[in-house]
Amino acid sequence: MKRLDLIFSERELDEMLSCLEDAQVAGYTVMKHVTGRGPERVVSEDTEFTGLGANAHVIVFCEQEVLDRLKNHVQAILSYYGGIAYVSEASPL
């Protein structure tokens, strides 16, 4: 199985989650209040203060075929607003 890590602005969380639902993932996990720095933007706790929101970190464990289904849509969201997506191997305990 695969593990997908998505990190992007909290403000796009709803959009990203409905994108995951469209691809019929079995589940997902969300961590909010995450900060960080990317190639362009810095997301610090005070961007949360200004209502911009911090980042969200979403983890999805799924099969490769689910990844294939969601790939384009996720990439579109990330290329518009920024954020990253990485895949690694994982297997159930």
């Binding site: 911009l52 911090a54 518009y80």
Partner: protein, 331 residues
């Protein structure tokens, strides 16, 4: 006279706590107010400002002066972004210019309440309907900003980034801060009309506690503003100059409009402060969603790191001096 006003302004707890926060960052103290505690204070302040404004609005009535003042405020929040946009286009692309312009057309609630505290300190009267002006100046500025992007943006803007009107209206009217402020205003208005005992029971929370909570919040604003300073350098001299001079310019325009509207000195100062202040809450959030091409560090660093501190330290007493010079004292 102005310098004594500045001193009187600086030696109040809210401004002193703002300095304390700034100082903590400068000397690298590890003082921090962890998220989401600042959110608690900002929600509280918006709720309390709105509620008190609603009571004031009930008191002063929705009569002629309320309408003309609020109307003039809305017009200011439509005009200022256009002027700013033209100036900013000298140096920046459409996206950044529009986003920064929208921020300066909009308002800063904390600058407004600092000005209210200043007036209370000086024993100068002001009216509740000014809060209605505050609440109604965020959305138009956002709309102008987004319309400017829509009109002026290059033809080849990625298809997905083309804004629909629904998005523009949603982002401008339903932003959490604007919504809470307006909602609390209406609740205050209704409560004052129908439930006087409810007003009395809210008073310890929205009234008495307010000044202290303002201090706490300004402590955090001091920390956040000072953390923004380094990224200001990157923004360049043009933007630094803009962040100081445009508030002064807007204040000048504001005081003239206030004179035409025949506002008393208290309301006039608040009107000027609304014109001169810039948003770091609703506008950045709306721009982040709809104009991701604009660099958020530009519009946040200038409004939060420079314009906000300038206004609450020097601006308010300066604008008071201006009001005293231009507005014939009615007392």
């Amino acid at each position: 006279m102005d310098s004594s006003l500045i001193l009187q302004n600086v030696l109040t707890p809210p401004v002193l706590f703002f300095f304390l926060g700034t100082f903590a960052v400068l000397v690298r103290s590890d003082l921090e107010i962890p998220a989401p505690l600042p959110k608690l204070f900002s929600l509280y302040l918006l709720l309390a400002i709105g509620f008190k404004g609603g009571l004031g609005l009930q008191e002063s009535g929705i009569g002629g002066q309320t309408f003309t003042t609020v109307g003039a405020a809305i017009i200011m929040s439509l005009l200022i972004p256009i002027i700013c946009f033209i100036i900013l286009r000298l140096k920046f692309d459409v996206f950044n210019s529009a986003a920064i312009a929208a921020a300066y057309g909009s308002i800063s609630a904390v600058t407004f309440i600092t000005a209210e505290s200043f007036l209370e300190n000086q024993g100068i009267h002001f009216d509740g309907f000014m809060v209605a002006a505050l609440a109604l100046m965020e959305s138009p500025a956002i709309i102008v900003g987004l319309v400017l992007v829509k009109l002026a943006s290059p033809k080849d803007r990625t298809r997905s980034k083309k804004m629909r009107w629904r998005t523009i209206l949603h982002e401008s009217m339903l932003n959490g801060s604007v919504f809470l402020l307006l909602g609390s205003l209406i609740i205050g208005f209704l409560t004052a009309a129908h439930n006087p005992s409810g007003v009395a029971k809210m008073q310890p929370f929205t009234g008495k506690l307010f000044y202290g909570a303002e201090c706490f919040f300004l402590l955090d604003m001091g920390i956040v503003a000072a953390q923004r300073l380094p990224s200001l350098k990157k923004a360049g001299n043009f933007l630094i100059g803009f962040a100081i001079l445009i508030p002064l310019f807007n204040a000048l325009v504001g005081v003239l409009v206030a004179r035409i509207l025949l506002l008393g000195p208290g309301n006039a100062l608040l009107f000027v402060v609304l014109c001169a202040s810039a948003s770091y809450l609703a506008v950045p959030a709306a721009m982040r969603m709809t104009v991701p091409e604009a660099k958020s560090s530009y519009y946040i660093s200038t409004t939060l790191g420079l314009t906000f501190p300038f206004n609450i330290i020097f601006g308010i007493p300066l604008y008071m001096g201006l009001v005293n010079a231009v507005i014939p004292s009615t007392t």
